[in-house]
Amino acid sequence: MSESSKKDKKVIRCIVCPTGCEITAENVDGEVKIIGFGCKRGEEYAKEELFEPKRIVTATMRVEDGFLSIIPVRTEKPIPKESVFEIIKELSSIKVKAPIKVGDILVENIHNLEVNVIASRDMPTF
């Protein structure tokens, strides 16, 4: 969690359900005030989205000898949002070799984030 002592205010649209509540999260010297959520899950979502927004990154990597020339991949776990672009860039420069099975680890511990990049599908050889 952020140790910032500044006053942060952010308006977040909740994506937990279709209602789309506007949630305002305010951080005053580390004390969080969250208003506008419609449910408990919305409150938790807003907390995470304000202090440590994370995303699963999905991308493609080049394949050698594959049935297709690229393979869809993803990070095994959500990673910090600010790392998204550098990870995609790195993945675009790596080539992997078929055959590959869904779930195979293609890149270990990418960017030292303690997250692996795994194959999203089987990729038989050509």
Partner: protein
Amino acid sequence: MKSLDVDIAVIGAGSAGLGAAIEAKKQGMDVLILERNDELGGITLQCIHNGFGLKIFKEDLTGPEYIQRFINEAKELKIPYKLDTMVIEITEDKEIYAVNKKEGLLKIKAKAIILSMGCREKTRGAINIPGFRPAGIYTAGQAQRFVNIEGYIPGKTYVILGSGDIGMIMARRLTWLGCEVKAVVEIKSYVSGLIRNQVQCLEDYNIPLILNHTITKIHGKDRVEGITISSVDQNWDQIVGSDEYIECDSILLSVGLVPENELTTKAGAELSNNGGPIVDDNLETIMDGIFACGNVLQVHDLVDNVSEEAKRAGKNAAIYVKERYGKDQIKKDHIKIIPGINVGYVKPDYVNFSNLENLLHFHLRVKEPDRDVIIVIKEVNKIVYQRVRSFVIPSEMIEVRTKFKPEVISPNCRELKIEVLPVSLLEVLDEVG
């Protein structure tokens, strides 16, 4: 011509076809899947983003991961399939004509058929955008296939017309790949796709969503050079003098999906107002033994719902083969399900009277967004089902699961009407009578 006999033929090996085939096989049927692509899996293969499987597997999977589970299961069950095989006709007698390069023309005689051909995207021709016809205009799903399967990026700067889910997901995907998405332009006053996608695909990357606007001219003769957008009034008519030019080299269209039903109508099955075949609660079309599931029946929001529907179609087709095939068909005792106030369409179109006490699955979409509504099912003016919802929007399909006790529906009921009413209106109706 090579001729084959099967219990159940499944047309299309996407999420619907695989789900239906797996269930039919588990019911002991001799099943054959026909697929026009060169691999099993359908469109889910190109949806490489996550958000699939939350309902069925309680996991956050990508599209390819989700469909891989079904592909693996179909292979474990040794369900026969033919790839690169295009079905060209289905007759009323459930004869299927198909072609492929290896075997030429094939005739497949099936006791039951499951239609699972999915849907296709509306194109520029369907919405009549004026201007030249340069290169650089794609549907969102077409661009998705180029980028995620073929490995090509179709342009550098984009405007996306329509705020459907695929368009928003492609906006993020292209941004991630270093392209610039100038705007998503939506003719309606609200987003067409899921709010989750609006937030995570557009707002996360500051991609402007321009509502109440449409493309009124495409510039560029050989390649797209830019577009003119204009604001529209409530009738979607262009407001004179509101034009704005945006430079771009590519346009993606994400303006809606249409169930793909040419084969269905040739087989004699009629379609309803959503473009999908008319079905009863067994997902059987008006042609005996021809069933439909997935996006060919109704365009779903979530693949999980397609799989669920497919499983029911597979099971019901197997029951048909075991219990009804080859016997004199009894005249069906049907109740018509009518879409009423603020209901765009509802599936199924009919419910068998004898199935009223079983768990029924109704799916519908509202015509307009609304807050604080009540979903009601009425026999004439008597409410036989009701549920309150705080928010409804056309992009979110509404599911109603219910059983009816025998005393609730009168024995001579011929119609049930399903409506989405403001709670306040219902209170007024209560006071009146």
